[in-house]
Symmetry: C2
Subunit: 150 residues, 2 copies
DNA sequence: AACGTAGGTTAGTTTATGCTAACTTTAAAG
DNA sequence: CTTTAAAGTTAGCATAAACTAACCTACGTT
């Protein structure tokens, strides 16, 4: 008797695996570390996210098997095209949400922490609406209210 | 050899258990169903959240043991004081966040779905900041921009 | 050559949270 | 009185995601 989970079934059939919140965070983290210029290793991600080495090792195995990252012989990790797409999206969300929260007066610590969770919770529609709204807010911020008084 | 998880240890020592996202959702659901006036049973929650009866049964057992709900002999569920406090808080967050998203032009379906997740993701500081911000937005909405033109 | 350290992996555990299968209990329908 | 249906429960399973313990490998130093 063989039992296949949904994900195994999808793998077999070549259907793209659903990416989970933790995977999105790992990909985002890889992108952020890449931006520093240094090559990214498993242990760097573990330090960044404050996870254990085995946790990251297993996560990297899954991301590799899912086609989201490449790992070379030296253990250096790079994002594939599909991995990069997800990472960029999440990173942009993270940045915008935390900027917006700080604009509302939230402390940087809470803004960043909350953005980490909210970035996964919003639909495309809601995120786009927030982005447009925040653009308007920033514009109004620098637009004098009564031009005559200047 | 006896092994105790952190939660077991806390239960033994009488320390309040950390409430998880799913527990918050169950409590919120109980509050919403209560508002309809009818008594709330396990099966009503299962229908509301589209969960199986056993999932709800187990969750109710945990909430009961945690002191968040009372279940009478007929299976009718009521919130305790501590349960009600959490439920009210989450419900208020849910309402405000979905109202705000709809104010930004998001469809009701996405606004409600996203609010369900965002309500758990925001710190008190961020939530309070959003509430104040949204109050101002609503005020501006009804304030004529050029009084002279009326 | 021996040893220590850094990086990575494997195996097995824990916790949260859903599920199905199968049971009990109770009450209504006939 | 039996049969059926609804509500609830228990047991056991699945998955995601973290963890520790223990291991391998390779490199740099004495």
């Amino acid at each position: 008797m063989i039992t296949l989970g949904l994900d195994n079934l999808k793998m077999v059939c070549g259907i793209k695996m659903k990416i989970h919140e933790s995977a999105e965070n790992y990909l985002e983290s890889i992108l952020m570390l890449s931006k520093s210029g240094n090559p990214v290793r498993s242990v760097d991600i573990a330090n960044e996210l404050e996870y254990s080495k085995p946790s990251v090792s297993v996560a990297m195995k899954n991301l590799r098997e899912g086609g989201y990252i490449n790992v070379d012989a030296d253990g250096y990790i790079t994002l594939t095209e599909s991995g990069n797409k997800i990472a960029q999206d999440i990173y942009e969300r993270h940045t915008l949400i935390s900027d917006w929260l700080m604009f509302l007066g939230v402390s940087r610590a809470n803004a960043v922490q909350d953005a980490c969770k909210m970035e996964h919770a919003m639909s495309d529609e809601s995120y786009t609406a927030l982005r447009k709204h925040f653009d308007v807010l920033k514009l109004e911020m620098y637009k004098p209210k009564k031009a005559k008084n200047i």
